[in-house]
Amino acid sequence: MIKLILVAGLTVLVLLIFISLRIFLILPHRTHGIPQTSILQSSRIVEITTPSKSHALFILGSGGHTTELFAMIQDLSPDILTHRTYVFSSGDKHSAQKARSFEESLVGSFTKRSNARVGYRLVELPRARRVKQSWLTTPFSCLVCLWKCLDVLRGGDIAGMTKEMSKLWVGMEFPDLVICNGPGTAVMVVLACYIYKFFGKCTTRIIYVESFARVESLSLSGKLLLPLANRFLVQWPQLAERYPGAEHLGFLVS
């Protein structure tokens, strides 16, 4: 009997060690103050040209967050970021409309003809917690949300696209970048991302931008995502001083 418990205990221990090692490996290790790219300037390192295809996933939140996000990405070049996915919380028609009009505004700026055909994905996510929802049912709605996030990340909706569209999206399911700036849904998407990272399915990098309205302290999602984001940008220098790992590059919302 004791033997059995011992074996079981050891197995659990080994598993735990393995899991924590894996998590440690996939967590971002930011070098403070040094831009990420400088790592590659040491000798005997390969030089890489930007690949022709890349995919970014933008997480749209409620009013203010969405406005800030589109202000930040208004200079985006669709030739560099060829595939774009927008996720919005269920019922947030306003954000969905903003995404549509942003995509329409891009139309003139394609220089590669192929990119114009790629189009974009606009996906609705159930809310992790509705306003005034009971805390008892919250874990369930979180799970539902997480499940949908996992599905979006692996491109579950691509099968339902028109033939032409899905042809362009196959192979580009996992985003290269996830860009979020505060809404609660972002936490679930990032969590889903880490589940795939744990199993080595994707190498998605996460950029988090704290809202312009946050001057003295981080928002809840900011605090949660601080150790998980590959780049954590804040718009006020006070925040960068207070939270190690946060980066201040000036105002981004103009």
Binding site: E47, E68, L81, G171, R205, R214, W236, S254
Partner: protein, 216 residues
Amino acid sequence: MAPDSSQNTDRKVFVTVGTTNFDPLIKAVLRPSVVSLLQSQGYTTLRVQYGQAAELYQACYTADLESTLAKSSMLIGGYAYASGDEITQEIKTAELVICHAGSGTILECLRYQKRIVTIPNESLMDNHQVELANEMARQKYVIKGDLSDLIPAITQSLTFKYKHFPRQGSKIFSEVMEEELDQADKDKIVPAYHSRRRKDYDEWIENKNWCGCRIV
């Protein structure tokens, strides 16, 4: 910024409370003393977006205010809400904006380089309007007004040297995105290279228009 009387005869003040409730601001602006100060500064129109405070807005038309208005040709108009585009249009055509310290409204005004008097709404829960207003005022992007008396802030706004809000934010962010895209591609190679199936790696290079490795 002297008004060009031949072209720009309409000098507008726009007051906005956004989508929140901010009754004290409406009250503070529609005081006869404040309205007559705006008149004396040469403004010809006062537009108020008052949100849910329709009754209060009506109640502010006291005899005092009427008599103040009778002295000159200043027009006052108000409405509850407007769409984002309409608000943008209002801000664009206004000369002075008196607003709550919501980040969206402030950013919109800064984009069109308006004179801004902002008043934080301290009644909102879990809101950081005070912090934002203080910091923006400290850096001279806006003037922070006091609800009990708006006159000093409005007087100051005529001569205040507003700092220009930097415009290159989106460029900086695009650079960050490009850096991270490069990094994401580098991350992809490593597992592929160490993969037991060398084929994966070759395929990756082919599909990604990889130009090959070069030892630097």
